[in-house]
Symmetry: C2
Subunit: 477 residues, 2 copies
């Protein structure tokens, strides 16, 4: 832990500088666009005052311009795109939400889309084109320079959400016989190199990566030293077909800034940099809550029709599980007629089990997604969740049992509901681990279907244990 | 989009190199430790064969050694730490799960902890020490070099989860009058600089950052050019008190690799690099599912007692909402006695509303967390969710209404349940947006409490609408 500050005398003569940017009257404390600002843009668009709109938007960072598009209504977006066409650089398109970008791109001529795509890094261009209709995609590709078109077509040939789609073909690779000085001369040579890069890959004659070298090491090493003496040999290679979620986990685990992507023969074909991985980490970690709740992609920019289809399927699946619960209650109709309190209390038993199951399931799904829950520790985690469930079950059952016994002046009813709650919470704890782990072993995404099964188990067990115990205990004749 | 490959002739004479590392018989396809491997380590520890254990673990990456600790049972971890003490470098500690690290660190003498902390970057050292008891913390700090101790004490003076805790004091800052050549000489000078850095900060005489310079630009620019002509003036400055979630959002939005941290006077005090932000993005995005489900931190390494306390509170809160539902059902006891089918069907109406509410709530919570849902577009999103809810409500109500009418040969019962389902799904859609947005405006984390309120609303509305309509429609006398 050292502080690399300067000697104070090095600072002599340094002039006072202007305050740095990014703060403006368009952004609030949370770095989102202010409602007043968006209203002024909206009013300007409505009044057709394109110059005024341009003046407002001109100072924004491309990422904030992208946010502005997302905040406007769908029918206002084309007018904004026209008003600020000079500012619609490739960076804005790269930052746009997929749905919003598709919305705008579909309204542009193929030639304009091709111009934008050519300015983008391959990975951003692929993101822009991959969601277009086959026909529109072909029209855009036909307008592109052969070299760029070939790069995009190659990328599109890899599976969706794979490293091949995510990687950039802009990287710096040099042969292993170079010295640090050779490398610096090569970089200074004014070649058409990548715009920004953080590591240099060292390759052998077969173009297999043999090491990487952070730029800071190069800057700090004398020119005469061989690259093979500076480079790090132990590197994380990403197969071109690897799923983006796996890629994100590697970046996170090994704290990578960039990584070499290799084809099936081990040849270097691209690089992935951490800034492209950051939003994947965010999406993949955030999608569990959306998937578990059955909200599909859960993007607020998704067309209503898509949201409807994704969610209604889930509601219907849950309907089926609720039907099972209703059937169990129906079969105890006689008992309920005799003691109507059973009707009021049985949903509580089911609901508490559901809550406990959801807790355990959320923990298990996250642990599976982050590779913390593996074959090695499944038994330990199951035991752990069993213990937590016993503690929770006894606590909640005591509360609900005593309360019920007092309210209904019926101690046996209290014992019955308490016992049912313990049974259901323990069932929930076990199901909350076993269901997602089983789905994972079967190669399914545990976040997608766990919830239906766990709810089905806790609902059924709740109704069955409570009503069954009520009958078995002689509470109702 | 250009490919920066080499001329093939540059590759002449390059020798075939060894295959790169990270693949071993200890890791499976998903890059997690194989159960057989962990079993061999476990057996070795049990038999006291420390040399054999050392041999097994020796080839692992520090991040994998950290994983190994997490996979072992709590009582096996000290034995492993002893067996491989030579391999327990600072990198292993930096990668360990917080709970597991605390577990191990608490068993080490203060002097050893101080030695490890001195090797770590400030941010990692802080992460290691911040969870210790005040007394243990002081004991460790007392053993440290004054300079390192001062750095950690300063960091600990910032709020938890703030930029000040997260930042590293190892950064490179140079005055604005330097040229590219001056900078390279300064870096080559063999000073005690940061080990790895990706950008150089340019500061004025008051130590205020005026620009940043990626190392790739420096390497590609002639020595005589002034740094102020190469640097990027427009930079994202992170205030030292900023919450880590905000920091993560900035990194993501502006695709940053590193950023300058400034104090209240605008002076450069540290830097945050993207590799430290990546796991925050993952945690913050992943914690929504855990918080919404009421699982607290939801870490499988958390002590059982902590998990119990976090979860039981939530179950008791939900008990209260379930009680409200039970009270509503009870108040319709007369109707249920006359038509016991009401008891079987009312949980379905409540449960479907709960599912629909959870979907919308998950979408709203994610959109709030990623700054996509702001004051500017709340009305539009509410309207959007209303539309989706109407579509879902009509679809599900038709299914359940027709099925009920047929099964019970009672068309009026079908109409009643269908109407109640439409009402409840629309209520759920609105509550799913209004509840989290209101909590957010009140400065609360919408992921923490939304679920209790939304469930309470959909449960109550489900029972009340269904049983109320049954009575009002004259279905039951």
């Amino acid at each position: 832990m050292t502080v690399d500050k300067l000697d104070p005398d090095l600072l002599e003569g340094a002039a006072a500088a202007a305050e740095p940017a990014h703060e403006s009257d368009s952004l609030d404390a949370e770095n989102t666009l202010k409602p007043e600002f968006v209203r002024r843009v909206r009013d300007g668009l409505e009044a057709g005052e394109n110059d005024a709109v341009y003046g407002l938007v001109e100072g924004l960072h491309p990422a904030d311009i992208a946010d502005l598009f997302e905040l406007l209504d769908s029918d206002e977006r084309p007018a904004l795109a026209i008003a600020i066409s000079d500012l619609m650089g490739s960076e804005v398109y790269a930052e746009l939400n997929d749905y919003v970008r598709e919305d705008i791109v579909e309204q542009l001529p193929a030639e304009t889309v091709a111009d934008i795509a050519e300015q983008l890094d391959t990975d951003d261009a692929v993101a822009m084109l991959e969601d277009l209709d086959e026909e529109d995609q072909q029209a855009v590709l036909a307008e592109m320079e052969p070299e760029d078109r070939a790069a995009i077509e190659t990328a599109l040939s890899y599976p969706e959400e794979s490293a091949g789609r995510l990687m950039s073909r802009d990287f710096v690779a040099v042969p292993e016989h170079m010295t640090v000085g050779d490398l610096i001369d090569f970089l200074r040579d004014g070649r058409d190199l990548a715009n920004e890069f953080w590591e240099v890959f060292i390759v052998d004659a077969r173009f297999h990566p043999v090491g990487t070298c952070a730029l800071s090491w190069i800057l700090r090493t004398p020119r005469s030293i061989a690259l093979t003496d500076v480079m790090q040999r132990d590197q994380t290679l990403i197969p071109v077909t690897m799923d983006q979620e796996e890629v994100a986990l590697r970046f996170q685990k090994y704290a990578l800034i960039s990584a070499a992507v290799v084809d099936a023969d081990g040849r270097l074909v691209g690089q992935i940099t951490v800034d492209d991985v950051v939003h994947i980490i965010q999406e993949e970690a955030g999608e569990d809550v959306l998937l578990l709740s059955g909200a599909g992609e859960g993007d607020i920019n998704e067309p209503i029709r898509d949201s409807y289809v994704a969610r209604v399927r889930w509601l219907i699946a849950n309907l089926a599980t609720a039907l099972l619960g209703a059937t169990i209650i129906s079969s105890f109709g006689g008992a309920i007629e005799k003691l109507v309190a059973l009707a009021a209390l049985s949903p509580m038993v089911a609901s508490i089990g559901g809550n406990a199951g959801t807790q355990t399931m959320a923990v298990a799904v996250r642990a599976l997604a982050t590779n913390q829950l593996t074959r090695t520790n499944t038994t330990r985690i199951l035991l752990r969740e069993f213990r937590v469930a016993v503690l929770n079950g006894v606590t909640v059952a005591t509360l609900i049992g005593v309360a019920t016994a007092l309210v209904f002046s019926n101690p046996l009813l209290g014992v019955v509901i308490g016992t049912a709650v313990v049974v259901n919470i323990i069932t929930a704890g076990l199901a909350g681990v076993v269901v997602p782990v089983t789905l994972d072993r079967l190669g399914q995404d545990p976040a997608v279907a766990s919830s239906v099964f766990v709810t089905m188990i806790t609902d059924s067990m709740g109704f069955f244990a409570f009503l069954g115990l009520a009958v078995a205990s002689g509470l109702v004749g």
